[in-house]
């Protein structure tokens, strides 16, 4: 990010409105943003500088310099410079392309238009020309251009609504208010005269804090975040507003927040770096050995050999010669650390990323979003994930509530039935109920049980009352755009679903005023007088309304959590209660959110008395909330049960299946949600994370350190007890000494549910290990009510102690921290803004794609990368170590075995493409199988396919090959002659023979390693061989030699050598001896210790022969258990907003008759509520009573 480069850090910011000259002297950043790194001039130096910060590149630069020293140079300089330039170019091109796109997006943002007040006139300006201190006019649905101080708006009291989805991912609207003095500045002329000065904090990245003061007309006004509109927000439901630019461009909180994401490395990357270091150490060792050899040789033999070969100038001792030879050997053996390794790895990853991007099965047709690999460097880690941390809302669930079932007066409705009345299986749904009789019905609502509608039509009083309750008892606002086109604005989707259900069944909530609710009951408009809203809060877990019907009867309608409400029913309801309870259990078993409905008739006199007392309690200064709670409690008693509703918190498609399969793949899934415990647990059940087979679900809700510790300890003890009963005595003692191992070996399945405040304690330094142990012993972990920071802490904790690969998936801005912390962050590109996606490494639109991403793409990526690395190290060792053996026969003089062109091209031409093709395309089992057998995922988690052991096996194989590669030709050539009698054992023939057998051996080896042959594999392997021979013959051709006799010394060699049968016999022998043990070993392994993938592959072969269809996986039926919980996910205090009427539009009809007294304090109240929201102590509303006074 282009952080402003002022030398002195800003200590405070002074901004004067409409005074560009004044503000300019502070040199604040302009609103032009720059996320690009280079421009045309700086690209080359900056990019090269960055690239040479990579150790590998510097290493090769160092080699290049070494090669320029003639005494040392054992290879021509071009053997290094060609690959180096290639690598640098590829990287540079990639960087340039990335930067080009950044330039483009910068330009697009910088050129957005906004209206700026310049010398009293509104002018269209591009964003980048907006300056600090300007006054901007924003219109509805526009993006805020910079961080603004809200001055005034079209709404009363200088209110303005914004959506902060891009900023923090929350889609609900937020209210901002101008400070009263500026709120009156309605038009441009007034604003043009505004010359207040703001002194505030310097730019920072805290989204929810702002501190400053406005000095205007010799008065001081404090400013807070409540007065600020931040860049990236969108103005909603507000016609226009004016704001003063405080922070612009890079200083805005949005830009300050979008710091460069930390560069993530995969574990293979780290392993690779370690291995490269080891290899480097190995290289130095070999160099030292050979240098010592050289010193000895020069001392013993070389001295005497000086008559034919005198020492170089300046070399006077064998020791110094050895020293030089060390560097020479470093040069020729450098190919064990191949520069092309890094490039190839990048290319392979890029290929895998494209596979992910192109995967049609991860394309969401509905949202038209394909999966996207935003980071291309993490693919193989997808095959090693052990822990998934998932957000709930928007990730597991769609955040759409659907009225699914209900129980009215002991009769349950809503089961999908087929013709015979049996419960129908999923997928074979009949036609939904036809709501065409009702012109006001919401066409999107679907219900599958026609009997409920019949009951309504037949006039079942209970059913009528049931829906009447639903249409009255809520805090939903309605908006009628045109006749019959109702739009409900609900704070919680649950309520919206219920009111919509009532609407479709003929009880249409039409409109409300602070004092009335108008309902169309089966086509007939009835206006109820709204007497009181007994609002929801955390402790009450219910809400009620008291209404007076047109007939004058006063009735209390209540809906709430079953646990609470069932206790408050009148005792005559007992029979009905038991039936309803059964229904509730059934619903809960299906993972539905349940809600119990009840009513109570109130006597006129009782109500008067009660409301009197309520009024008094509301105006009491002390313990007002307690009083209110008691009064509420009193009236909501002895209620009559009406029934229950069941709302389906619609899961994303395929979530339970995905979780089931991921669990089978031994991936542990933790749900970290900001939601309530009940909701979270419910979702846990409905997506099969929690099952009834589980031995126990531990719930940790302690508020203090001690409580939490105690609860965790109990949980562990219980698990240990259970496992002790399973284990025998001897084993048990051994186990109990090691707590961790006990918990690893827990028998039975457990789950842990932990609350946010408990988590805060559990994450403290002294308890985190304990918490982690407990949690990891459980099969499923659900953390509810967690803050974004806690999410990140949990991920960090697992990362720290478990050394396992973690994946975080989420869709909201509150998941960003966790997405950034985890090894792999996945963003769901859903409705909740794009913050999560921007921070993520992978993004797609459905949770279920995770299964494919991990089990197919991740697994393959890992497999391919491992195979690639194994082969790569193998081929380079086989290639390079030949020099080592040759050293013993050439006086340790650092003479290369091969032609220098071969050395240059070996890694970049002859052997690079086949292994790349394998790295990109290889697969051991087809995708369906890897989904079908999730166990196939395990090798990745255990890191079996490429680890230090595998590495050493590859190295050993490489060294073995190199030995044969040298000694077989050595044995043959020692006293062989050509068929025309000339000697065969000349250096050049030897070089060609060894090189040819090497290329053939590694090609055969790649053929053996390739598990999945595509045309490209064939093409590359055969092509490489063809390229080798073509290049060989070209290099050895007469014409090239005639042009550069000193460069192409091998003239005529290929023709002469490869025409010899002896040479071909040698090559064949070498190939067979190098490959035979590999084949034998693989054959044995396949027979004696087959891997799961081998077995799967084999079965597939057999199946293909038998042409049988593969079986389908059966879905296990659900077993219900008693779980219920009602979660109003909306904030409390909405009721008073309704009653005060503040949020009603002026256009609203009712307001003419019910003009409310201006009540400026409600905003404060609301703000206070918001502040309290989230803190566990429920604060009963203080304003509810005020509304009653109205």
């Amino acid at each position: 990010m282009g952080v402003t480069e002022r030398c002195v850090a800003e200590e405070e910011r002074r901004v004067r409105a409409n005074a560009r000259e004044y503000n300019e002297k502070f040199q604040y950043a302009s609103n032009c943003i720059k996320t690009s790194k280079y421009n045309i001039v700086t690209f080359l130096p900056v990019n090269l500088f960055e690239q040479f910060q990579e150790v590998a590149n510097t290493y090769f630069l160092f080699l290049l310099i070494l090669q320029l020293i003639p005494q040392i140079s054992s290879l021509s300089w071009f053997t290094t410079i060609v690959p180096l330039v290639l690598v640098l170019t590829i990287t540079a091109v990639k960087d340039a392309t990335d930067d080009y796109f950044r330039h483009k997006s910068d330009n697009q943002v910088n050129n957005r238009q906004s209206q700026v007040l310049i010398s009293g006139v509104l002018q269209q300006e591009q964003w980048m020309n907006v300056r600090v201190g300007d006054i901007i006019k924003l219109e509805n649905n526009q993006f805020v251009a910079a961080d603004l101080l809200l001055l005034s708006s079209s709404e009363p009291h200088g209110l303005c609504y914004i959506e902060t989805a891009e900023l923090d991912g929350e889609t609900n609207m937020k209210v901002r208010q101008a400070i009263p003095v500026t709120a009156e500045l309605g038009d441009t002329s007034q604003l043009a005269c505004f010359d207040g000065e703001v002194i505030c904090e310097p730019p920072n990245n805290k989204l929810d804090k702002f501190g400053g003061t406005l000095y205007w007309k010799e008065n001081k006004y404090p400013l807070s975040n409540q007065n600020m509109l931040l860049r990236g927000c969108v103005l909603r439901n507000t016609e226009w507003c004016f704001g003063l630019v405080i922070f612009a461009g890079p200083d805005t909180k949005l830009m300050q927040n979008s710091g460069r994401t930390k560069f993530k490395r995969t574990s293979i990357d780290r392993l690779m770096n370690t291995l490269v270091l080891w290899i480097f150490g190995f290289l130095v060792c070999m160099g030292v050995i050979l240098a010592i050899g050289n010193a000895i040789w020069e001392h013993e033999v070389g001295v005497c050999f000086q008559i034919y070969l005198p020492w170089d100038e300046g070399v006077h001792s064998a020791f110094f010669s050895g020293f030089l030879s060390f560097w020479s050997y470093i040069i020729i053996l450098n190919t064990v650390v191949p520069i092309s390794l890094y490039v190839s790895v990048e290319v392979i990853r890029l290929g895998h990323s494209y596979f992910i991007n192109w995967d049609k099965k991860m394309y969401c047709a509905k949202r038209r979003t394909p999966a996207e690999a935003r980071t291309t460097t993490l693919n193989e880690e997808l095959g090693q994930v052990e822990y998934i941390f998932s957000d709930k809302t928007g990730t597991l669930t769609q955040n759409i509530m659907v009225f699914s079932k209900c129980s009215v007066n002991g009769h349950s409705y809503g089961d999908v039935q087929d013709m015979l009345g049996h419960k129908a299986e999923l997928g074979e749904r009949p036609e939904p109920v036809d709501f065409s009789f009702n012109p006001l019905a919401d066409p999107r609502f679907q219900f599958w049980d026609p009997s409920l509608l019949e009951a309504v039509k037949l006039g079942d009083l209970h059913v009528h009352e049931f829906f009447r309750l639903l249409s009255l008892c809520h805090t939903v606002m309605s908006e009628e755009k045109s006749e019959g086109e109702l739009l409900y604005k609900a704070q919680s989707p649950d309520e919206g679903a219920l009111v919509t259900a009532a609407r479709n069944f003929g009880f249409v909530f039409r409109s409300r005023t602070p004092k009335t609710i108008t309902v169309h009951e089966l086509g007939q408009a009835i206006t109820y007088q709204l007497l009181a809203i007994l609002d929801f809060n955390n402790i009450r877990k219910r809400m009620s309304v008291i209404v007076r019907s047109p007939e004058g009867k006063i009735r209390l309608y209540c809906k709430g959590a079953d646990t609470i409400l069932l206790e408050r029913l009148h005792h005559i309801n007992q029979d009905l209660t038991s039936i309803t309870t059964d229904h509730l259990n059934e619903y809960a078993g299906e993972g539905l959110r349940t809600l119990v409905l009840a009513y109570k008739d109130l006597e006129e006199s009782y109500y008067k008395d009660w409301s009197e007392r309520l009024h008094r309690a509301g105006s009491a200064s002390e313990a007002r909330e307690d009083h209110l709670a008691r009064l509420y409690d009193e009236v909501e008693h002895d209620m009559m049960l009406l029934g229950a509703t069941a709302i389906e918190d619609k899961l994303q498609q395929g979530v339970p299946e995905t979780i089931a399969i991921l669990t089978l793949a031994n991936i542990k899934i933790w749900v970290l949600t900001g939601d309530k415990q009940e909701t979270a647990v419910n979702i846990g059940y409905s997506c099969k994370m929690l099952t009834d087979d589980m031995a126990e679900v531990f719930v940790v809700t302690g508020h203090t350190v001690l409580e939490v510790r105690e609860e965790l300890r109990k949980a562990r003890e219980k698990m240990m007890d259970a496992s002790r009963s399973v284990c025998n005595g001897f084993y048990q003692e051994k186990l109990s000494s090691k707590l961790t191992s006990v918990l690893e070996a827990i028998a039975g399945e457990y789950a842990l549910v932990i609350n946010g405040h408990s988590l805060a304690h559990a994450l403290e330094a002294d308890m985190e290990a304990e918490f982690l142990e407990t949690a990891c012993a459980c099969k499923a972990v659900i953390c509810c009510r967690v803050t974004p920071l806690q999410k990140a802490q949990v991920v960090e904790l697992v990362k720290k102690y478990k050394k396992a690969v973690t994946l975080a998936i989420g869709d909201g801005a509150n998941d960003v921290s966790m997405i950034k912390t985890a090894h792999i962050g996945v963003g769901i590109s859903g409705q909740e803004g794009i913050q999560a996606v921007l921070a993520s490494d992978y993004s797609f639109s459905q949770f279920k794609f995770l299964q494919r991403l991990l089990l197919v793409h991740g697994r393959w990526s890992y497999l391919r990368m491992c195979k690639f690395l194994c082969y790569f190290f193998y081929k380079n060792f086989a290639f390079t170590m030949v020099h080592f053996w040759f050293g013993f026969f050439c006086g340790f003089s650092a003479q290369t075995v091969y032609d220098q062109y071969f050395i240059t091209l070996y890694n970049i031409v002859y052997t690079s493409l086949p292994v790349l093709a394998m790295g990109v395309f290889d697969q051991d089992v087809p995708e369906q199988r890897s989904m079908e057998y999730p166990k196939l995922y395990e090798p990745g988690q255990l890191n079996l396919l490429f680890n230090k052991r595998e590495f050493f096996i590859c190295i050993a194989q490489g060294i073995y090959t190199s030995i044969l590669m040298f000694f077989i030709p050595y044995g043959v050539f020692a006293d062989a002659t050509r068929d025309d009698g000339a000697q065969l054992a000349d250096y050049q023939s030897f070089a060609v023979t060894v090189a040819t057998s090497l290329v053939i051996v590694v090609s055969v080896q790649i053929g053996l390693d390739t598990g999945f042959w595509t045309a490209i594999n064939h093409f590359f392997i055969w092509g490489s061989l063809a390229a080798y021979f073509t290049i060989l013959f070209t290099m050895h051709s007469d014409s090239l030699f005639r042009m550069f006799p000193n460069q192409f010394r091998f003239v005529g060699n290929a023709q002469n050598t490869l025409a010899q049968p002896t040479v071909w016999l040698t090559i064949a022998l070498t190939t067979v001896v190098c490959i035979m043990p590999v084949v034998a070993f693989r054959f044995l392994k396949l027979d004696l210790k087959p891997e799961l993938s081998d077995t799967v592959r084999y079965t597939q072969l057999v199946r293909k022969k038998q042409k049988t269809q593969h079986r389908c996986m059966r879905h296990a039926g659900r077993v219900g258990s008693r779980r219920s919980g009602y979660a109003f996910s909306h904030q409390e205090g909405f009721g008073e907003l309704i009653m005060s009427g503040k949020n009603m539009r002026l256009s609203s009809l009712a307001l003419s008759s019910f003009a409310p007294r201006p009540n400026a304090s409600w905003i404060d109240t609301l703000r206070k509520k918001k502040g309290c929201e989230g803190s566990s102590a429920g604060s009963p509303s203080g304003a509810a009573d005020k509304t009653l006074k109205v």
């Binding site: 170089d312 050439c890 062989a976 002659t977 054992a985 250096y987 070089a991 027979d1087 799961l1092």
Partner: protein, 280 residues
């Protein structure tokens, strides 16, 4: 066939000893050689594959490039110039060219019949016709063409006096070319002469006694080197090569044995996969 005692007297020869130290080695051929016979000289412990040795040549000079002739490549140091004159051919390889003369006699009842040794056709065609070229210029007088250069330090005579025949003189002298094709290993042999079969009724070399006359010019004793002379016939796949045969037989047997073992193992254990219970 190793040089033994008769030549020990010559061990301490130097390059320019005149007259050359000569010695004679007698040997007996057990079998007669039916087809063409190839005569090799072998050197051991001679590091023709040493990096500094290998690079110490100038291929463009050897290719007849006139500018390189007078200004040889730096790679040739320290055999690049001598007394301010460029050396042709320059470099350590050329400088150390093998210069013993071998003559073969058949001893038949105490009469020594010299055997004709053919010195042409011992180098690769590409080497002789492409890689090695004499400098070009007016006329074919090599002496004139090599004007301005000097002989390698160790050589008794300049390069244009290697042979009397013009197509085997200068850089395209085949002995020189063979020497310039450096060996891959410290013990090596190089083709020296051919002995052609004269007619179909007589073997090229009959069994019997032979003697080898050596004009011993080439010192190898200082670095503990050894010289050899080898006579050999060749088949379709070159000279006698026991290693390849033995290796093939060994590898073949191992493969066969392994095949049997694996077949057995596969029969015994391999079948259990077919039931294919895949744990899931």
């Amino acid at each position: 066939i190793k040089p033994s005692s008769p030549c020990n007297k010559c061990l301490n020869v130097s390059w320019d000893s005149t007259p050359p130290c000569t010695c004679t080695i007698n040997f007996t051929l057990e079998h007669s050689f039916e087809s063409n016979v190839f005569m090799y000289y072998g050197l051991s412990n001679f590091y023709q594959n040493h990096r500094r040795y290998v690079k110490s040549r100038d291929d463009s000079q050897l290719n007849g490039d006139n500018s390189s002739l007078l200004n040889p490549s730096k790679e040739c140091e320290p055999y690049r110039t001598n007394e301010d004159k460029p050396i042709a051919p320059c470099g350590a390889i050329a400088n150390s060219m093998f210069n013993d003369t071998l003559e073969l006699y058949r001893i038949d009842n105490d009469t020594r019949t010299p055997i004709t040794l053919i010195k042409k056709g011992i180098a690769w065609w590409t080497d002789k016709n492409v890689k090695f070229r004499n400098p070009t210029g007016d006329g074919n007088n090599l002496t004139a063409l090599f004007q301005g250069t000097t002989k390698p330090v160790n050589w008794p005579k300049p390069v244009y006096m290697l042979d009397s025949e013009p197509d085997n003189n200068g850089f395209i002298n085949e002995d020189f070319i063979v020497w310039m094709r450096t060996a891959a290993l410290p013990t090596f042999r190089k083709l020296y002469r051919l002995i052609e079969r004269k007619n179909n009724f007589q073997p090229t070399l009959q069994a019997g006694k032979y003697s080898l006359d050596i004009a011993y010019n080439y010192p190898v004793h200082s670095f503990d080197g050894r010289k050899r002379m080898i006579l050999s016939t060749i088949s379709w796949m070159g000279g006698k090569n026991p290693f390849l045969g033995i290796a093939y037989i060994t590898v073949g047997s191992i493969c066969f044995f392994l095949g049997v073992v694996l077949l057995f193992i596969h029969h015994k254990y391999g079948n259990r996969n077919t039931s294919a219970d895949i744990p899931n």
